[in-house]
Point group: C2
Chain length 259, copies 2
DNA sequence: ATGCCTTTGTGAACGCGTGCACAAAGATGG
DNA sequence: CCATCTTTGTGCACGCGTTCACAAAGGCAT
């Protein structure tokens, strides 16, 4: 996932809904919404699971955390389930969101229609660049960072999106938190440190690609076991390479430099 | 994660590196690169773990899967570790990447500098819109979808990025796979079905926000324990007769998929 | 060399998530 | 009302991931 991972350890479970289940609820909701638009009245766990790309047993267990909303022998009422999941996710209310850093990515996010379609409303676009201030992006005037605190307070914003360069991310984060933001979606490739009670999720394209590259390399290595490294293994750390776990993934073993 | 979760179950483990560890290696690599640029020679697991935002024991265990690259009493050699992780992730070679769908998001991705900084090279930008063909984005001419297969074959591309609307994603995916792509990063809000051996990771902004909203709602609920449901819970499933719910319950989400 | 101090590497315990498999529940038909 | 069939809801087992805690390893000073 492109999704953040380390969330909250296990402070107090929110009424018994596992984090892994919460992460899948939007997936189910999307599939259910599609069914709803096709006026499908009911759906079985098997069908819905296929549409969401998960195991049917997992789906049923997930739903069991929400309550017994299905009918045995029939399935789940689509409309009813859409409502229940929406309510559980807090989508029956409107969530004003501020986007900070209106560059390439920030502008794309502002233009993204998928925002509004789920109860998220772009309350403001904020950038530190004075030349951007006042200019409209996606129909909303970009505002200067100076007004950040005021905007958040006036609109009761609790969710912020950071799309600034990595170097500014922590600073922006601190200001957002100080202003009352308690949930942050971070696109900058940095680890943000936040006080207790503030949720941070990160989206890091670079990490996703690197994970793909890892598996890609492994696939290639299986097909062609005879692979030679291009660059020399660099200098080992002085004289400390003591042991190696059996045969490495490929033949490359760093040369042990005699002390 | 914003990252996809369900990866490969346990087909054939890459000889000992857990998926969770692989997902953290880029994080370590980023922190190590920063240290390297500051010419820090060695780093302890405690320091590095803090920089990467993880538990130090976890970091040490992660590294133990790669081999014994540390020195007890001292720590890890930064340069050496950078190389080892880069090699493990397959970043010592160049990975040509194609981006399909050069709209708001695709253009932002094309302009993203973080691509090239890790060995990923944008080999081509592809879009179905004829009016885009030939126009330069981020210094690269957009090419029409017709040339997709040829581009992939000519450049030996194995990683593809999908940034088209959801409705086209599966179709684009199928073409990519048929052309030889074996790793896909999907930004479209759809479940892609791919044959065995093809890796898919998804980045879904909407899902991330919904997860944040869930926790946000819970925080609010804790502060105000006396909260009664605002909207009536809609009609229970009741009799599952051929009831066709015309106008859905008021709690129904708008849910309009952007075309 | 020897002893002390720091830090790694890892065994083991634990908790979470996943998936199987099935009993119970309800619908449906006779 | 009963039989049968479908599908839910879940008990249970298993494997993965996380974390603790500590012995071993190495550096460094004496
Ligand atoms: N573009 C992508 O596809 C992409 C992909 C993944 C990650 N990212 C990350 O997202 C972030 C933004 O990327 P981008 O391509 O849009 O960069 P960009 O340079 O185009 O935009 C950054 C914007 O942030 C503004 N900014 C800088 N400091 C600020 C501050 N302190 N307060 C408010 N605004 C500030 C700048 O004025 C600029 O408009 C970067 O951290 C990048 O690494 C981008
Ligand atoms: N913009 C965002 O911030 C954002 C965020 C999250 C997810 N997404 C998703 O990313 C995708 C792209 O978003 P966007 O805002 O860039 O949309 P967009 O409409 O601006 O761009 C889509 C592009 O894809 C091209 N396209 C359509 N069908 C194609 C096909 N079959 N083959 C090749 N190209 C095709 C279109 O010509 C267009 O240029 C969407 O699925 C969207 O839901 C976007």
């Amino acid at each position: 996932m492109a999704t953040g991972r380390n969330h909250r350890p296990a402070t107090s479970r929110s009424r018994g809904i596992p984090e892994a289940t919460v992460a899948r609820l939007p997936l189910y909701l999307r599939a259910l919404t599609a069914l709803s638009e096709r006026s499908v009245p009911t759906v079985s766990s098997e069908e819905l699971a296929a549409a969401a790309g998960v195991n049917s047993a997992k789906l049923r267990k997930d739903f069991s955390y929400l309550g017994s909303y299905g009918t045995r022998g029939v399935g789940y009422d689509v409309e009813y389930l859409v409502y229940q999941i929406s309510r559980e996710l807090g989508l029956t209310q409107d969530w004003p969101v501020v986007i900070v850093g209106i560059g390439n990515l920030g502008a794309a996010l502002a233009n993204y229609g998928g925002f509004a379609s789920r109860g998220f409303r772009v309350a403001a676009l904020i950038d530190a660049d004075p030349s951007l201030a006042g200019k409209p992006v996606a129909g909303i005037d970009v505002q200067h960072t100076d007004a950040l605190e005021q905007i958040i307070a006036d609109n009761g914003v609790s969710i912020g999106v950071i799309a600034t360069p990595a170097g500014s991310a922590q600073q922006v984060c601190d200001r957002l938190v100080a202003a009352g933001i308690t949930s942050i979606l971070n696109f900058a490739p940095t680890v943000l440190s936040v006080p207790e009670g503030v949720d941070v999720r990160k989206v890091d394209l670079s990490i996703e690609l690197q994970i793909l590259a890892f598996h890609e390399q492994r696939k290639a290595g299986e097909d062609a076991p005879e692979e030679e490294e291009t660059a020399p293994p660099a200098a080992p750390p002085a004289a400390a390479v003591t042991k190696r776990p059996g045969p490495g993934p490929d033949g490359d073993v760093p040369a042990v430099m005699p002390a």
